[in-house]
Amino acid sequence: MSAVEVEGVWKFYGDFPALRDVRLEAGAGSCLALIGRNGAGKTTLLRIMAGFSRPGRGQVRIFGSPPRETSTRRRMGFIGHGIAVYDELSALENLTLFGRLYGLPDPRRSALEWLERTGLARVRDGLVREFSRGMRQRLAVARAFLHDPGVLLLDEPFTALDDRAIAVLQRLLAEALAAGKTIVMSTHQLREALELASHVALLNRGQVAFHGPRTPEMAADPGLVYARYGEGG
């Protein structure tokens, strides 16, 4: 059974089909890089995978279950465009809150552990609104990994990250893959993504233009997929 299955998904905004019969899958322990130009439908697809939005037609299955099932959500981690933590709470309060919502046995201990792993232990009681951009991003990474999700859905995870946050995220993603987790990430940073990816899917105007294993040639020349299968290919 694939960890992530997307079966004939359509999504309409009014009459406009943002996604057209998208079929993808990502096996357990694989990393699928979702690439495509702006407006290709990457974020829409990831939001449907995460259960934030329902498809017009088709279905998504995470470990064989719909993404809105409570048990499925417990096994998913998501990093979107926003950091998804509260400015009015401290770093520790934020992570403890999400630890409680995810039903972790000892939310405070898990929160402290992830603050340590992301280099935020020193500022654990500081309010997020007082954090630098890089610190906020590392806290967002900690929130997504806190409950040890089996599937990580990442929307442009490297965009606007500072060097330290990129290093933290790359290390955590490599560890997650080594531990058999599944990663689906949309990205414009082809070099970083293709270093990590085992599979690549190119979205073009809401349709899958290419879906297959990442080859050594792709890693060597990140523009290759666009050149062969993209609009100009």
Binding site: F52, T70, M76, F78, Y102, L127, R143
Partner: protein, 226 residues
Amino acid sequence: MNFARLVFIVAAKDLRAELRTKEAVNAALAFALVILLLFSFAFDPSAETTRDIAGGLLWIVFAFAGVLVLNRSFARELANDCLDALIAAPVPAAALFLGKVLANYFLVLAVELVSLPVFGVFYNVPWTSRFWQLMLVVALGTWGLAVIGTVFSALTVNIRLREVMLPLLIYPIMIPALMGAMQLTSDLVVGKPIGPENVAWLKMLAGFDVIYTAVSLLLVETVLVG
């Protein structure tokens, strides 16, 4: 995890965030006090007039001040895309909704409980003569306001003019509850207890709360996820 515990976690989070900034509560409280003050200066009502308008005046103030709290309920989640994180968490939408209702309920109730003595002083009304019955009416009316306000706060959260849309949507729906609360409050502040003459208003108020809470709990998953 225990449903009630999840409700409590969400409510505690909202209350803690609000108490750190006091944005909504301060605005609502200032609004309520200014309106009470302005009305008292503008009309200089006699004791008899005050008895007639007390319920209406109080509940109009409560409803308008309450909207300032309710508008922030889901708008608070927009910053940093926190709503995504809440929706992604393994929390039933009903628990998320009830947690937010509970937080809003306590915040609006706090504004009302500060406004009531101020009303008593400015309008020279011995509003405590039927204190516990009045508290029952305030509690029921506020619950209805919190439920309707929270569900429409979720519905309008992504609308650009949500501050305008929320009152436009909730006041027409609130009319039965507001009518009941106004009528009962007018009676209670002049010492007339809840009895056979006006108990129907109390039943309507309670019925409104039960029906709209149930309907909101059924619809909230669709409201949040579509």
